[in-house]
């Protein structure tokens, strides 16, 4: 796996937002919210990385940073060997051709007044791909059929309201891939869809990523779903990646107490396997007031004295499996 080429890489990436703290209707204080607090991530060609975490942990901010929709406060994002974290103007537009996104809600992410063909042809027009309308039409048609909407002619002239949620998500996938991007980010791509059709959308994404040799990032709060689609998984908690490694190994070994709690708390469709909340307390703290030391320590069942004072570093457990927890500190010292 180490032999594969990295397509995109985040190095010590930070994003801070300034938020107003109000009291009695007046702004009392301006504090910084560290949505992404120094993360290192990479995705290789043909590989899918899953990012899991609770809401507010910074996973969507991470996605936006990768797409250049936010400027990083610190750190860099490398596409190949080029830093894309502070692009502007033409360069940014050019970069967008390489980076595409699929949104959570296909009911809102497609323009209701555009026919499907126009939705898919628009990015081609913007980036000047294809010599004329007829060629772009052919490209759009080809893409639709690859996305599983067959025969494509039947769908080209429809409006979004004439399609089901699953079909709309297929259009969104076609729109993202028609530009031949290098990497693709999908933010909760199936959470709005019915369970009965989720698997087919996930399989389509998976197939496109492997066949077209893209780097894929799938964001979800549902780790059981991530298990079925990603090669590697990163677990995020309050702006930090607390554990990352190959998906099956991460699920099996679950080194970090948070990963363990997350896996144990997930309700199981088997009525004989019950979930447990033994290993986690309370709710995630407000990201404006991140706890000192390890940010998970107030909820951690294995909290030690050192955890309250010092932020743990990342320890390598072998095979690229990394975990940020003091429990594994002795190993490397």
């Amino acid at each position: 796996m180490t032999e594969r080429t990295k397509v995109i890489e985040a190095i010590d990436l930070h994003k801070e937002f300034m938020v107003k703290i109000k009291g009695d209707g007046k702004v009392r204080e301006i504090k910084s919210l560290k949505a992404v607090d120094g993360i290192n991530l990479h995705v290789c060609k043909g590989e899918t990385l899953g990012i899991v975490g609770e809401s507010g942990c910074g996973k969507t901010t991470t996605a936006k940073l990768f797409l250049g929709l936010h400027n990083a406060t610190m750190g860099s994002i490398l596409l190949g060997d080029k830093d894309i974290s502070h692009l502007k103007g033409k360069e940014l537009k050019n970069f967008r051709k390489h980076a595409q996104m699929i949104f959570q809600d296909p009911y809102e992410s497609l323009n209701p007044r555009f026919k499907i063909k126009n939705t898919i042809m628009e990015p081609l027009e913007i980036h000047g791909i294809g010599k004329d309308k007829a060629e772009r039409y052919e490209m759009a048609k080809q893409m639709l059929s690859e996305a599983g909407l067959k025969p494509p002619e039947e769908y080209m002239d429809r409006y979004p309201h004439e399609m089901s949620g699953g079909q709309k998500q297929r259009v969104a996938i076609a729109r993202a891939l028609v530009l031949n991007p290098d990497f693709l980010i999908a933010d909760e791509p199936v959470s709005m869809l019915d369970v009965s059709i989720r698997a087919s959308i996930l399989k389509l994404l998976r197939k496109m990523i492997t066949e077209k040799d893209l780097a894929g990032i799938i964001i979800s709060h549902d780790i059981s779903l991530i298990r079925y689609i990603s090669d590697r998984t990163a677990v995020m908690y309050l702006g930090k990646i607390v554990e990352q490694g190959s998906t099956e190994e991460l699920i099996e070994k679950r080194y970090h107490p948070y990963t363990k709690a997350l896996l144990e708390a997930a309700p199981n469709p088997d009525p004989e396997v019950k979930f447990t909340l033994e290993n986690i307390k309370g709710e995630a703290p407000n990201p404006v007031d991140i706890p000192k030391g390890c940010r998970f320590h107030p909820r951690c069942p294995e909290c030690m004295e050192i955890c309250k004072m010092i932020t743990p570093q990342e320890y390598d457990m072998g095979n690229g499996h990394k975990v940020m927890c003091h429990l594994y500190g002795d190993k490397n010292e």
């Binding site: 609770e54 809401s55 089901s164 019915d194 369970v195 009965s196 059709i197 989720r198 698997a199 087919s200 959308i201 996930l202 399989k203 709060h221 549902d222 780790i223 059981s224 779903l225 298990r227 079925y228 099956e248 699920i251 709690a261 997350l262 896996l263 708390a265 997930a266 309700p267 199981n268 469709p269 088997d270 009525p271 004989e272 396997v273 019950k274 979930f275 909340l277 986690i280 709710e283």
Partner: protein, 333 residues
């Protein structure tokens, strides 16, 4: 006598261009102490059915046939005012999005006491005392009664709604997707709370959801709805571990799980039937991989099993079909 008895209930919506039969001939018994899961995908009629039970259908919706017997009284024929007295007091509801069901301009405490004072002769002070006890019960800090909804997190709002639903010791609680919008850990915290409350509670609950893992973790019975009908009913272990209807088999295999061997997820291609048209034969026939000529017309035979029933024309081959349904090739189109 069952607490709630639905006898051949049909509910229709009047549309500008005809009628839509959202619920078609549904019978269901809820005994004292039962926790019944009502599962199905969007548009299957599950929400319409519960709105029908508590008599809150929109003005174009009407129960056209059947009876809703609650403690010996037909609710569908009850006068408006009498029904109003029963809501909250005897049948209460935990609504889907707690975010939208609390009034943003009233303190949460006042919203809970309002419910109590509407139905019971009690002083304001006593009602507030009762609200405090309820908050203890659902694990919220008493001081938070003074707060407005926007000061609560999603999980806290959902707990407040649960507290409200318990305020008058109702005999039946209807929970409509109580955890859908919540994070995994918060969701499990709410489910744990619901389970703990049910232990010490003599009444019954109907839990409506599309998520079979929620049903697996909470309910003892489950009714699977498809295209306006209950197509399979029975004990939760039996239905989820050894399903008898092909749709339930598909649903079970479409659901990702963190435990056990990683099997290929299946997806049930196609869309649910159009309920504005008359359906001949099995409702699932267009999406069922096992469809035969005998499935295409007439009523599907009713088959009784140990703890429930199901409707399928191929009832004499179910064991074989179940084996096939476990293979993902079966569901490929």
């Amino acid at each position: 006598m069952a607490l709630l008895e639905l006898n051949e209930v049909s509910i229709e919506y009047k549309l500008s261009n005809g009628k839509l039969k959202a619920v078609d001939n549904v019978s269901l018994n809820v005994e004292n102490g039962d926790v019944v899961g009502l599962v199905g995908e969007s548009g299957c009629g599950k929400s319409t059915l519960i709105k029908g039970i508590i008599n809150l259908l929109p003005s174009n919706g009407k129960i056209t046939n059947g009876e809703v017997i609650f403690e010996g009284e037909d609710l569908s024929k009850l006068e408006f005012e009498k029904m109003r007295k029963k809501r909250w007091k005897e049948i209460s509801m935990i609504t889907q999005s707690a975010m939208n069901s609390l009034n943003p301009v009233y303190r949460v405490g006042n919203q809970i006491t309002e419910v109590i004072l509407e139905h019971e002769k009690m002083s304001k002070h006593d009602a507030m005392e009762k609200a405090k006890e309820l908050f203890d019960l659902v694990g919220l800090d008493r001081a938070r009664l003074e707060d407005y909804p926007h000061q609560y997190s999603g999980g806290m709002k959902q707990r407040a709604i649960i507290a409200m639903s318990l305020a008058l010791d109702p005999k039946l609680i209807i929970a409509d997707e109580p955890t859908t919008a919540l994070d995994v850990i918060v969701q499990s915290q709410i489910l744990e709370k619901i389970n703990a409350l049910l232990e010490g509670y003599s009444g019954s609950m109907i839990l409506v959801t599309h998520d079979i893992s929620v049903v697996a973790q909470t309910c003892n019975k489950v009714a699977v709805m498809y295209g306006g009908r209950i197509i399979e009913y029975g004990d939760v272990k039996q239905v989820l571990k050894k399903p008898n209807h092909p749709y339930t088999m598909g649903l079970k295999n479409a659901f990702p799980s963190l435990t056990g061997e990683k099997k290929d997820l299946i997806s049930i291609e196609g869309t649910p039937p159009d309920l504005s048209k008359k359906i001949d034969g099995c409702r699932f026939k267009d999406r069922c991989p096992f469809v035969l000529d005998k499935c295409k017309s007439g009523e599907m035979p009713f088959t009784r099993v140990e703890s429930g029933y199901y409707y399928c024309a191929r009832h004499d081959e179910i064991d074989h079909l179940r084996e096939l349904a476990d293979l993902s090739e079966t569901w490929d189109v």
